[in-house]
């Protein structure tokens, strides 16, 4: 190799040779970083770029010239002029030695292991494993641990990399995983086998490099190579994390996260991961019509008959006596088509997608989104939560809040106090505290004023309060006062799902004096509404509709109690079965893709409304998805093809409406985390997981 002195590396960089190739790495980089820069893959188990460095697997060893021993590259700092060899005899034998040690006590039960086919140990043993064993002693067996409904454990397979422990401690913020015992008797698990309480526990499944922790609901259902993956978006909360749905034979088998630094990093919520069973159970698969004497009975029918029945029902009815409600899981296409159907085809202005009581207008885009992009949440130096429990409402964002807390940012809470996995300062239960903060005299107010980048997060439930607009106004004023600079807007509203935000973008709310949700429901119950189009469950219970004798048309995916009350039922596609555009809380529009087709006779939602419009009124002016999307893009530029995946600037125009702040305590929009949307409530696994964390709530639900 070279004997001439090295040319100096660029400012702040180091010259490092990897296998003879010169690379520049920043000062403070590790040897592994240098190997990566030189495109030399270093095998590893315990190292993970988003976790602290443990250095315990000893698989990533390399040889460094002048060092007497092989070095674990994941933690060793690179130095100027260092000569690293990843392919030398020393490095290779060290790795082979490690592999042998890992395998001697590993059960090698790959044929019955769910990790098989996507197992790091399996993959690396191809390169570094021996083809025969000279281990003739008894193998170690470890008792499996019951750590809850999410994760199946086969602890004999554990290689003690401690990724799960580090994830739980560092990222999820629950000190639940740990190791007991020492030496070869060391066992990973939860203390006294208690169930994990984190909303992010499922990520340990992805992190586990072997089959020790596997997806419990998915156990023994499919092999990874049988699955067809579809890259899509998690629309079940407002974050819109990137996920992949793995399907086999038209059925979604599991969901796993994809990497996206700006949104979900590489994590996924348990509510998304473990609720995929809802997509294939209790589905509406054919149109249904109530037939027979008296109240009659819902019977399967054809689309034509169902449409004819609706046509008959709306015939001659005054437009003010027609109404439509839409819930929070629908794409822009769905929402646009539904609103157009109600307003243009039927001519009714009584259409809403907001929760009962939510009167927040959507005129200002900035008023309904997180004006601080998620990635910049990491830069916050103070946090104010108003009626918001980010741990339950958006666990992926709670990870970022935890990170800023670790860096020293104080968190102030107005509203109910919950365990957010980090310490908070509780200012009070009611929105009146915002006035105190606006006065600027208290320590908390001063801390917020002193902070350069404070983050104010208003929870979705706040909007559904009678004083919602006043609270938003007060929070907005506070943000204007302390959290707005040219490069920072710290005002954030955290809705419950992407669909909620998308529906507001699609203006699915009453126009020209139409009725809002609460009014529609009241008028239905009092029989002032003759035909109600219920598009999804809309967080309603049968009691909310009791007394109405009009025609109830249910368009949805699942045979819920509300669907059972309907006179006509139209089966639609679930979020995993259609291509749709969804805005997340940042206002970033992303496209979902269809992982599987809709079941049996079910149809994509926009097609239903388009076809129905032709029957009952004016035909909607789109025949293809492309035409519909063009119309949507014209209606809302954020949904134009070129804007997909980006965040369009949202000009600040002030938010909310001046009003009196009441003394009613603020609460989070999410009570039972695992049952947070209609989709989750259809999942048997979600019910199990909810029961595990709160048996009492399960009874109530």
């Amino acid at each position: 190799m070279t004997t001439t002195p090295l040319p100096p590396a660029p400012e702040g960089m180091l010259n490092v040779y990897v296998d003879g190739r010169l690379v520049h790495v920043r000062k403070g980089a590790t040897v592994m970083d240098a190997c990566k820069a030189a495109e030399q893959e270093v095998p590893h188990f315990c190292y993970h770029k988003r976790l602290s460095v443990a250095g315990n697997c000893r698989m990533c060893m390399v040889e460094i010239e002048g060092f007497p021993k092989p070095v674990a590259s994941c933690h060793w700092p690179a130095a100027e002029g260092m000569k690293v060899r990843t392919d030398s005899e020393t490095a290779t034998t060290a790795r082979k030695g490690t592999m042998e040690f890992l395998l001697i006590n590993h059960p090698l039960d790959c044929p019955i292991c769910d990790q098989g086919g996507e197992c790091t140990l399996q993959d690396l043993s191809v390169a570094y494993g021996g083809d025969r064993s000279h281990f003739h002693e008894g193998k170690r067996a470890v008792d499996d641990k019951d750590i809850g409904a999410k994760i199946k454990t086969v602890m004999t397979r554990c290689i003690h990399c401690t990724r799960c422990i580090r994830f739980a401690t560092e990222i999820a913020g629950v000190q639940e995983m740990g190791a007991t015992g020492r030496g070869e008797a060391m066992q990973v698990g939860t203390y006294v086998e208690s169930a994990l309480t984190s909303e992010l526990a499922g990520n340990m499944i992805d992190l586990c490099p072997v089959g020790a922790l596997t997806n419990r609901p998915f156990a023994y259902t499919a092999r990874p190579w049988e699955l067809v993956g579809t890259d899509t978006i998690d629309v079940l909360d407002a974050v819109g994390g990137h996920i992949r749905l793995d399907a086999r034979a038209g059925k979604v088998m599991r969901a796993v996260p994809r990497e996206c630094d700006a949104i979900n990093e590489e994590w996924m919520t348990d509510a998304a991961r473990f609720s995929t069973d809802a997509l294939s159970s209790n589905r509406l698969t054919a149109p249904q019509l109530r037939k027979g004497r008296g109240k009659g009975k819902l019977e399967n029918t054809g689309w034509a008959e169902a449409f004819a029945a609706i046509k008959e029902a709306v015939r001659g009815v005054r437009k003010t006596r027609l109404a439509g409600l839409m819930d929070n899981l629908h794409s822009a296409e769905d929402g646009y088509a539904f609103r157009a159907f109600m307003q243009d085809a039927l001519g009714s202005d009584n259409v809403d997608s907001r929760m009962a009581g939510n009167l927040v207008d959507s005129k200002s885009h900035a008023a309904g989104i997180c004006n601080t992009p998620f990635k910049r949440w990491d830069d916050a130096d103070a946090v104010l939560l108003v009626g918001c429990n980010p741990r339950l409402e958006a666990p992926l964002l709670n990870i970022r809040l935890r990170r800023v807390v670790k860096k020293g940012a104080p968190v102030f809470v107005v509203g109910e106090v919950a365990d957010l996995t980090y310490p908070v300062t509780h200012l009070g239960d009611t929105a009146k505290e915002l006035e105190t903060l606006l006065d600027g005299k208290t320590a908390a107010a001063k801390a917020l004023a002193k902070a350069e980048r404070p983050l104010i997060v208003v929870g979705g439930a706040v909007l559904a309060r009678p004083d919602g607009r006043a609270i938003v106004r007060a929070a907005g004023e506070l943000a204007e006062k302390v959290a707005m600079t040219d490069s920072w807007n710290g005002f954030n509203v955290l809705h419950d799902t992407c669909g909620r935000i998308t529906a507001l973008d699609m203006a699915v709310h009453p126009a020209h004096g139409g009725m809002a949700t609460a009014e529609i429901l009241e008028n239905w119950r009092e029989n002032h509404v003759d035909v109600l189009f219920l598009y999804g469950d809309c967080d309603l219970t049968p009691a909310d509709l009791a007394g109405g004798r009009g025609t109830l048309v249910y368009i949805g995916t699942h045979a819920t109690p509300l669907a059972a009350m309907a006179d006509v039922v139209l089966p639609a596609a679930a979020w995993s079965e259609k291509e749709g555009l969804f805005a997340n809380a940042e206002g970033r529009v992303q496209a979902t893709r269809a992982a599987v087709p809709p079941p049996l006779s079910a149809k994509e939602d926009w097609k239903i409304f388009r076809a129905l419009s032709e029957q009952v009124g004016d035909k909607l002016p789109f025949d293809t998805l492309a035409q519909l999307r063009a119309a949507i893009a014209e209606f809302c530029p954020a949904y134009a093809p070129e804007a997909i995946g980006t965040i369009l600037p949202a000009p600040w125009q002030g938010v909310g409406k001046k009003g009196k702040l009441t003394a009613k305590p603020l609460a989070s929009s999410v009570g039972a985390y695992y049952l947070r949307t209609a989709h989750h409530r259809e999942s048997a696994w979600m019910k199990t997981m909810q029961a595990e964390v709160a048996p009492v709530q399960e009874e109530a639900a």
Binding site: V53, A54, C57, I104, N105, R182, G183, E184, M186
Partner: protein, 428 residues
């Protein structure tokens, strides 16, 4: 035979009450000259102390033999670091065969207390921690009494002896893990975490206890600092060879007539040590089979090697062993060496912390294989395999534990392979 070294007189010793004949309390200690000159030490510049320690060639008594003056010079200056500094005393004496710190703690605890005071001052630390192994409960009580006496006499606390130096010393009891004697595992344990060694770098001098600059030293090392600093340099350097100066406590056990802890000059020939201080090998020198010279993790010596052995850091290296903690375990011909060495391997299997792969998985394998071979079950090929496994573990781990666990196995295979082979022949 060469001229024998003189036996140390009381005034030559750092631990005059090691045998416990006198009063361990502060009165006895002061009568023996303790705390005399402490005030002056606290008024001398720390740099001078470190310089003198470097010149004295005082090397770590915990087993690694690293120059104490050098180690102390790695600490940043308190005004540079802007953080509190700590001196941590490693009294987690767990190396099989070693029992020297125990006698210091129970018979001369004030030597350690005074060492902590001087050490803390020199390193810019206002607090010192003494991590005592959990099994030394009685010893820790005595140490605590000594500390209380020192507080009462104004040698600890605020403004010691009017010098403006503040030092507080705390005793922490471990929970019975050998690995907590590894300095970074000790820090983890002290912080209340699972006792597992940390990755190095960063080293404790930069990022130690609670992330602050920390120096960790053995009990004997810290206790020897005040005598070294108080006396003229040649009081210390007249003993021992170049770079191995001073006196040292040797713990002699096993097949000797008079097992003992004794403070003797460094560089004493091993045979002289056994004959002069431990009453000789049971059955005479010719009845000697093997000697472990420095605690269980140092490779075993045969009788022939033992005859050449000079007991200092540099004297044992050429013999493929090391001084370690200077715990000499003597085995005469009545001893089943393989059984002893297998038991030692079992000890290491039991004490591996389990953090990193080669040690967690390998040490148990080595023990089981060795156990089987020592019973004569196996093949001669497996002896080579046993050696190969130890080589796959050594030097591949986070801390030096696995090295220390493998050396005795390697030493046994090197010098006593024929014992294995004999067993294997018998076993057939």
């Amino acid at each position: 035979m060469t001229k024998k070294l003189p036996k140390l007189k009381l005034e030559d010793k750092c631990f005059p009450n090691l045998d416990g004949a006198g009063d361990w309390g502060i009165k006895g200690y002061q009568k023996r000259g303790g705390y005399k000159g402490l005030k002056k030490l606290l008024q001398t510049a720390p740099a001078e102390h470190i310089d003198k320690l470097k010149k004295s060639a005082l090397r770590g008594r915990g087993g690694a033999g690293f120059s104490t003056g050098m180690k102390w010079s790695f600490m940043p200056k308190p005004e540079q670091s802007g953080k509190p500094h700590y001196l941590v005393c490693n009294a987690d004496e767990g190396e099989p065969g070693t029992c020297k710190d125990r006698d210091i703690l129970r018979n001369d605890p004030h030597t350690l207390v005074e060492g902590m005071i001087v050490g803390c001052y020199t390193l810019g630390a206002k607090a010192g921690y003494i991590y005592v192994r959990g099994e030394y409960y009685d010893e820790s009580s005595r140490l605590n009494q000594a500390i209380r006496e020192a507080y009462d006499a104004g040698f600890l606390g605020k403004n010691i002896q009017g010098t403006g130096v503040d030092v507080d010393v705390y005793v922490h009891l471990g929970a019975g893990a050998y690995i907590c004697g590894e300095e970074t595992a000790l820090l983890e344990s002290l912080e209340g975490k699972k006792g597992q060694p940390r990755l190095k770098p960063p080293f404790p001098a930069g990022f130690g206890l609670y992330g602050c600059p920390t120096t960790i030293n053995n009990v004997e090392t810290i206790a020897q600092v005040p005598p070294v600093l108080k006396h003229p340099l040649d009081w210390w350097t007249r003993w021992g060879r170049e770079n191995n100066h001073g006196t040292k406590i040797f713990s002699i056990s096993g097949s000797v007539n008079n097992p003992c802890n004794v403070e003797a000059p460094m560089s004493i020939p091993l045979r002289e040590l056994i004959d002069e201080y431990a009453g000789g090998v049971i059955g005479g020198w010719d009845n000697l089979q093997a000697i472990i010279p420095g605690g269980s993790s140092t490779p075993i010596l045969t009788k022939e090697l033992a005859e050449q052995a000079i007991m200092d850091f540099d004297g044992l290296k050429p013999l493929g062993s090391s001084l370690g903690t200077a715990a000499v375990v003597v085995m005469n011909k009545d001893v089943d060496v393989l059984r002893v060495m297998t038991r030692i391997a079992a000890f290491y299997k039991h004490e591996s912390c389990g953090q990193c792969t080669p040690c967690r998985e390998g040490v148990g394998w080595v023990y089981r294989l060795m156990h089987r071979l020592a019973e004569g079950k196996g093949t001669a090929d497996e002896l080579d395999q046993l050696y190969a496994i130890t080589k796959k573990i050594e030097g591949r781990t986070i801390c030096a534990f696995a090295d220390g666990a493998m050396w005795p196995v390697q030493g046994t295979l090197r010098h006593f392979r024929e014992l294995f082979e004999e067993k294997l022949r018998d076993g057939k």
